[in-house]
Symmetry: C2
Subunit: 459 residues, 2 copies
């Protein structure tokens, strides 16, 4: 299955991995369009909740980076260092951002002065850099990462907690556009983001049985605002440190869409992501080519005017070749139009996700296409959610574990946690943020618990 | 005047220059929105002419960079070098792209195989890096540059020349949206882009009398395709090198908009760039606040529904404060609505560019707003074009030159050219690409010439 994921990416030509630096890939036109569609959704979601887009510099001076001790400990083995400019060494070494806390927070300390400046809600979409030492993989583990990060400052812990809940809501809406199921899992103390008070991972499950972290949401409390001195004057004139949160996601979203929805024929794109939601294929018969072409173009024009992203394939090749190409590219809906369809006032609809064919009334074209695209999106998410649910096994022993995501009991103690990880040969992803009824025992010490823990081999 | 340019940028808060690395500035929300509007125009212009957007890695291995000798000579004093990753030195040093020829062309040599792959027309919008040693200045001379670059490959020189002409056409349309006048000036041999066959600069004139290069268009011929081996098989089965062109523009466009259109009250944004094209200010009278507010909101709703970018300022501050704030931010059109306007069925229009007030019929609101925005755009470009024309002095001697862009005669010889630059204490920008009638003599050797040359002190 892992093999399959890889083949699809390559055949569909979303990225070119022949760039002469390992883990730094070229976004091809088609891959970049998919990434941009996802970015557009993210911008819509965060703009609608009063986040402001900013863009901070890529390079960070070493002394700024070093201010928060846990953070630097977590990252210093994987940053790229700029040591020279032109022909001379730099006085202060600069690093390529692995994430932007240490670039943004010295400036936040200038932007935040009074309670009237709060909450400060910002985000940016930028490239970040991490010197991965593990095997790199397109979209999933790369060294130059197309990255989304929101950074917020709040008057107190409670308001920061409200932000975390808002992030959950934004994510739910975004993930439904992408037809990606996920679990919100609170990471263990030893696996949280360096410098965070707590971290919630956004984990999905790939067909290979491995989990994939799509993003993470962090509550920082005052952990960064103290070293970076992000303070405000409250209504009573007292100076207080802000509480902060962040939310990060990356190009892994493209990897997840490819791996979760793809099949042996290639990509299957969710309608909200697809560059072309519909492809129109005129099925030409001898002597009638002009008539069919015109009818197909009229179809295209009508859909375009209605705001549907549609392409007509008028290449001089057999329809079978066209079907193959557009299936590979994952276009959600194919419309075939031949003389017989025209005579009956019909259009043939072919779903990419199921392969199902149906005849629809030409007169109700726009309506039928819209409802079909909505149905495809609904079914893709429902199917993927069902697959994720059936890919999770609840167990009360760590013996003979299936190749699935594991749900079991853990008392929450660190010793038992490490033992669970060692014996299961899996990582603890964490405990669920959302309601998840459970009544069991810690699989190591036997202590009763009402909260399950999720384990997986992570990608 | 230079002083003025600077103050406006700071007051309007488009960038924060307090980032702890010189020449690497923070894009604030408002500045970034303006940059994104410009990027959107660029994408529209290049997508419409069948260019494909791609995104190449930021880092370039030293050995790839070194392949084209002129190019590396032109850039090696100003590149940032990554020498370490994590705790270890890298085997091959990596540089931060100053421009992307050397990142893209090894991959182009894989993408281009046959004449059917041509023309290859690509572009990307990315951050580039140049270690400027001169005084840095927001948007104008920075070390991290928000950059647009198109890169194309063609079967022969003629097709590449067609591309250069297409670039001129795209630019003309874009610049009219930005209300920026410019001259296309072919650079001298000693000032062309390192590695280019020829370079055409896109030069505008700032109120300070200095020229600002907004972009450049390059014909490379086979200069890069030979070292990077970008070859194709032609219809006869012969292998030939492609001819290439590039077109680059940067965040200097924001600097030009600010400097050319701004006035003592702040920014003046062209309607196509403005985040808010219209701001609605309810002028509340005692006892009638509800009525005026509702009427103002109805106005906002009607404009919004018509696709106008509109904001209503309902803050609880005096109208004068609101006028001041929105003038500073450069919103092209202010609509004031008070009880008297409502009773007369009128709305007060105030133009940002001229300050002119007029009363318009409420019933024809959308139409009046649309035509006023078009008129503002037209007038802004016309005024700026006139100012640029009057900022150019045609002279036949280099004595006592005015603080303007200079147009004079040059035989085209390199010796005379250097002497012109030395004696005028200005740079030769180049000779006009477009029709520009002239009948004079080389200002140094006296040889007759029909082509003028432009000189300026460059920003």
């Amino acid at each position: 299955m892992v093999q399959r994921d890889r083949r699809e990416v390559e055949k569909a030509n979303l990225t070119d991995k022949r760039y002469p630096i390992k883990g730094m890939n070229v976004w091809t036109p088609y891959g970049w369009k998919i990434m941009q569609a996802i970015d557009r959704h993210i911008r819509e979601g965060f703009d609608a909740t009063d986040h402001q887009e900013v863009c901070f510099p890529l390079l960070i001076p070493e002394d700024q980076f070093a201010k928060e001790k846990e953070h630097i400990k977590g990252f210093d083995a994987e940053v790229f260092w700029v040591t020279h400019a032109g022909l001379n060494p730099l006085d202060v070494k600069l690093l390529l951002r692995p994430t932007s806390e240490t670039a943004m927070y010295p400036i936040f300390s200038l932007w935040v002065r009074s309670h009237a400046d709060l909450p400060l809600k910002t985000y940016q979409i930028v490239n970040t850099f991490r010197y991965e030492t593990k095997q790199t993989r397109a979209f999933i583990r790369v060294r130059e990462i197309h990255f989304f990060e929101s950074h917020t400052c709040h008057a107190d812990f409670e308001d920061a907690e409200r932000q975390v809940r808002e992030d959950y809501d934004i994510l739910e809406e975004l993930a439904s556009k992408w037809c990606i199921p996920y679990r919100l899992l609170k990471r263990t103390e030893w696996d949280k983001f360096p410098g965070a008070n707590y971290t919630v991972g956004v984990d999905t499950l790939l067909p290979s049985g491995r989990s994939l972290q799509l993003g993470s949401i962090h509550q920082y409390k005052e952990n960064f605002s103290r070293p970076y001195e992000i303070k405000y004057e409250d209504e009573k004139g007292e100076h207080r440190y802000v509480h902060q949160t962040t939310f990060g996601m990356s190009e892994r979203l493209v990897g997840a869409v490819v791996a979760i929805h793809g099949d042996d024929k290639g990509l299957v794109l969710p309608p909200d992501i697809a560059t072309n939601q519909v492809v129109v294929i005129p099925v030409l018969a001898k002597g009638e080519t002009e008539k069919v072409s015109n009818a197909a173009r009229a179809l295209r024009d009508e859909l375009k005017a209605a705001g549907v992203r549609v392409h007509i394939d008028e290449r001089d090749v057999r329809p079978g070749v066209k079907y193959y190409d557009w299936e590979l590219k994952g276009v959600p809906l194919r419309l075939e139009l031949g003389m017989r369809d025209i005579e009956k006032g019909k259009v043939t609809f072919v779903r990419r996700d199921t392969g199902e064919k149906s005849l629809k009334d030409r007169a109700r074209l726009v309506e039928e296409v819209r409802s079909m695209l909505a149905l495809i999106a609904h079914d893709m998410l429902a199917r993927a959610s069902k697959e994720m649910a059936s890919g999770i096994a609840t167990v009360d022993s760590l013996e003979g574990l299936p190749e699935k995501m594991i749900r079991t009991g853990w008392c929450g103690g660190e010793d038992c946690g490490h033992e669970i990880e060692n014996r299961s040969e899996r990582n603890i992803l964490g405990t669920p943020v959302e309601k998840d009824e459970f009544d069991g025992k810690c699989v190591v010490c036997g202590k009763p618990t009402k909260t399950p823990v999720y384990l997986a081999r992570a990608m």
